[in-house]
């Protein structure tokens, strides 16, 4: 309990203020509280792939950093795809055994997907390599 809150309750206990006044003061105190510090928003999607020396060339590493803004811009470009292209893509996906209807995928949903990408963290560890996908 902080000091100001304790003082208000003390004043109420001493009979210096009424219960209504104490409630108003406590409400005002709650409103004055600074909002919690917002978490730092990630700006980049990072993909790191490392592998051990298998062919005698030495170990390898791929490090890709993509700004999330770039992903959003790319997603917005999908809204330009003509309907006939989406229909053909749907047909090809169907043939490949992936029955996804791309026409039902709205740009807004894709943007929401990007918005929530900051929580994504993928770690794959194997004996000869490691893959990490995360946002920073």
């Amino acid at each position: 309990m902080n000091e100001q809150r304790r003082q208000i309750l003390q004043m109420l206990a001493d009979g210096k203020i009424t219960a209504d006044e104490a409630e108003k003061l406590l409400d005002a105190l709650a409103r004055e509280k600074p909002s919690p510090v917002t978490a730092k928003m990630p700006k980049y999607l990072r993909v790191e792939v490392t592998w051990e020396d298998t062919a005698g060339d030495g170990p390898g590493r791929i490090n890709v950093r993509v700004p999330l803004k770039l992903l959003r811009a790319g997603v917005r470009l999908t809204s330009l795809l003509p309907p006939q292209a989406l229909t053909r893509a749907n047909a090809e996906l169907g043939k490949a055994g992936v029955p996804i209807d791309l026409t039902l995928l709205k740009p807004q949903q894709l943007e929401e997907l990007i918005e929530h990408l900051d929580d994504v963290s993928v770690d794959v560890d194997s004996s000869d390599g490691k893959v990490r996908v995360f946002c920073e």
Binding site: D57, I62, V64, P67, K69, A73, A85
Partner: protein, 81 residues
């Protein structure tokens, strides 16, 4: 902000590519490419304005992108600032 400098490292060599001067030098070719793009938009019935806006957004979002590959003796690093 549009990209200003692209750094390419291949092994021990390092190249700094200033984007604006290169774009100015390649302006005639870029103009042709834009014209070709506009014709393609017309043919495929895509909004040319929307496509230009989308490309502009992509260009604006490029700074900060980095791509690095190290494989034994070979190393290529590209970063956009």
């Amino acid at each position: 902000m549009i990209p200003q400098l692209v750094t390419v490292r291949a092994g021990r060599r390092r190249f700094f590519v200033p984007v604006l001067p290169v774009v100015l030098v390649l302006a005639p070719l870029l103009l042709l490419a834009v014209l070709g793009g506009l014709i393609a938009c017309r043919v495929y019935r895509i909004s040319a304005l929307g496509a230009l806006r989308g490309l502009g957004r992509l260009l604006w979002a490029l700074p900060g992108a980095r791509f690095e590959i190290d494989d034994g003796q070979t190393a290529v690093r590209v970063s956009v600032r």
